[in-house]
């Protein structure tokens, strides 16, 4: 290993330490050997400037991206969570946008959290929101195009979902809670933890605007089939088999549902396979 590479690997490890380097003998000794210091800063004080920025930059980026989760936790628990996260899962991607990609999984592992399921649901919602925010653009499918598919082609037709759409099943009404927390941050006041209320959520972007919708079990089932690439007819048969709708209701139910999906821009196109 070259001396330059070794220097950088050692320095990077110090910058990721959670505690002040000035109280760290190893850091002080390293800095005195590797850094010159200045007339007003010792070598370890120079190193500390960069260490502090590592934590400030990344924790503030996560705070910006997870306003709901940080709102549930409050200052002290939020700091404990994100510092632990950055220590276990250091940033690897060049973009700060991806910094929170593994936060939902990390939250799921934290047994010390007061409301672990609520926190996990919120983390999932907020990461899905980030993913939808800058996912590829697509023109939504026109409902009329769906009607033009000849009946004999339905066995081969598969609905492709908008790439700026994510499906989530949550135990708590986190979308409402997130809105309330953001309102509270602007206007003051308090927000109570909500009771359990399982929901099927569709997080999506239509044109450039983000939204979250709660859908029925039948609609969810159908959307999951679309996401898995299952052809329309097979997906619909599955929905009937699983008891979400009866055969006699199916026609009207499906027509209304597909019209809603198209109106929300959830289906990007129909592919004949």
């Amino acid at each position: 290993m070259s001396s330059l590479t070794q220097l950088q690997l050692e320095l990077a490890a110090f910058l990721r330490k959670r505690t002040l380097l000035e109280n760290d003998r190893a850091a002080t000794a390293w800095a005195e050997a590797a850094l010159t210091g200045s007339s007003s800063l010792s070598p370890v004080q120079q190193l500390e400037i960069y260490r502090e920025q590592f934590w400030l930059r990344h924790t503030s980026s996560l705070l910006e991206d997870f306003p709901g989760l940080s709102g549930i936790l409050g200052q002290r628990a939020w700091e404990r969570l994100v510092e632990g996260y950055l220590e276990r899962d250091p940033p690897e991607h060049f973009s700060l946008r991806d910094l929170g990609a593994r936060l939902p999984a990390y939250v799921a592992d934290q047994s010390w959290l007061e409301q672990p399921s609520l926190c996990h649901d919120m983390a999932l919602l907020e990461w899905a929101t980030i993913e939808c925010f800058d996912a590829p653009d697509t023109e939504p499918l026109d409902a009329a195009e769906l009607q033009q598919i000849p009946p004999e082609a339905w066995t081969r037709a598969a609905c492709v979902l908008n790439p700026a759409l994510r499906l989530l099943q949550v135990d708590y009404p986190v979308a409402e809670l997130r809105r309330a927390l953001k309102r509270c941050r602007l206007e003051g006041g308090t927000v109570s933890y909500p009771d359990k209320k399982p929901q099927n959520l569709v997080v999506y972007r239509r044109q450039r605007e983000l939204d979250v919708a709660s859908v029925s079990n039948g609609a969810w089932d159908l959307l999951e089939c679309f996401a898995a690439g299952i052809p329309l007819l097979e997906a619909v048969e599955g929905v009937v088999t699983r008891g979400h709708v009866t055969e006699s209701e199916l026609g009207a139910w499906l027509t209304a549902l597909l019209r809603d999906f198209a109106a929300n821009g959830w289906v990007a196109r129909v592919e004949l396979r």
Binding site: L15, A34, L47, F54, L56, P91, F94, F133, D137
Partner: protein, 325 residues
């Protein structure tokens, strides 16, 4: 103004002279798209637009309809021990194809090691090994992106015992050997000169002026023991003096950018800074050769101390995130 119109060109590097521009930042999007202000060009932070779709690319396309845009990066990690990230370069090239910038820049720095990304502009030791690493990679980046590439001198808060040359010797050697441009940040020269106790004029006088394809100007925050490159507030007088001296030595106008990334003010405030840069440019290029700059590097400045917010220095201003949805 007509789109993509440029005036003249800078010698040697054969890049167009774009005038005086500003950094494109999220708080100004609505104003820019509504008012279409008379700005010579915008500079974007590449990483904020290396995405697949949504608002960032929509806003970028709207700006591209009316203005020349150049790209400035903060995450290339050209001096890091890890190989350059291929995904990064591929995404950057896709953005280059969309933007068609006259040039593209990043920094003389490293940003990560051992697979971890630190998202900072960490200074390199000024040594032969670092020169060799940067020269080889700068060549490769410029060839791959097929656009004129430049590196910017950074502000720094630490210096290494491994360094065997000055920062200006390091910068000069890399740009000459790699045959790339120099993105010359005169505010960074001032900040580093204060932090490391060197003469900023020696830096300004020693770099290859014919390779400067753009100049950055910004505000900074003096904490007493050191200065932080916050990109907050107006350009300081001492930095304007370095700007004039740089132009006087180059003896040609150079595309210049006003950066303002923290406590971002109304757009008109930036435009006033743009107008000042134009006046300073005229003053510098109209002044008789040999006239020295009015510079006192020890000029006391307002100490912001505790007023420096938790975010400290930033690169590129706020991201356009989903948080405000």
């Amino acid at each position: 103004m007509s789109p993509r119109r440029v005036r003249g060109s800078t010698s040697r590097l054969r890049v167009p002279l774009l005038g005086v521009g500003v950094g494109l930042r999220v708080p100004h999007y609505a104003h820019i798209l509504r008012e279409r202000p008379r700005v010579d060009f915008f500079e974007i932070i590449s990483e904020n637009f290396m995405v697949d779709g949504g608002k960032p690319l929509y806003h970028l396309d709207c700006v591209l309809e009316g203005y020349p845009v150049i790209q400035h990066g903060v995450s290339l990690n050209i001096g890091g021990p890890d190989p350059i990230d291929r995904e990064y370069l591929t995404r950057l090239k896709a953005l280059v194809r969309r933007v068609k910038p006259a040039w593209l820049s990043d920094h003389f720095c490293w940003s990560g090691a051992g697979g971890a990304h630190l998202h900072d502009l960490l200074p390199l030791p000024y040594c032969d090994e670092a020169v060799a690493r940067l020269v080889e990679r700068a060549h490769m980046v410029q060839d791959f992106l097929e656009v004129r590439f430049a590196l910017e001198n950074t502000s720094s808060y630490m210096s290494y015992t491994q360094s065997s040359m000055t920062e200006w010797q390091f910068v000069s050697e890399v740009v000459e050997r790699a045959d790339i441009g120099l993105m010359f940040d005169v505010n960074n020269v001032f900040v580093s000169s204060y932090n490391h106790g060197f003469d900023p004029l020696e830096f300004v006088r020693s770099v290859p002026h014919e390779r400067i394809l753009q100049i950055h100007l910004a505000g900074h925050t003096n904490l007493g023991t050191h200065i932080i490159d916050t990109h907050r507030g107006h350009v300081h007088d001492a930095v304007w003096a370095l700007y004039r001296e740089t132009l006087r030595l180059a003896a040609v106008p150079i595309s210049t950018l006003i950066e303002w990334d923290d406590e971002i003010p109304e757009f008109e405030v930036l435009m006033a800074e743009v107008e000042r840069a134009k006046r300073e440019q005229a003053l510098a290029l109209g002044s008789p050769a040999g006239a020295g700059p009015e510079l006192d590097p020890s000029t006391p400045e307002l100490s912001a101390g505790a007023a420096l917010g938790a975010r400290g220095w930033q690169q590129g201003g706020p991201r356009e995130t989903a948080a405000g949805d």
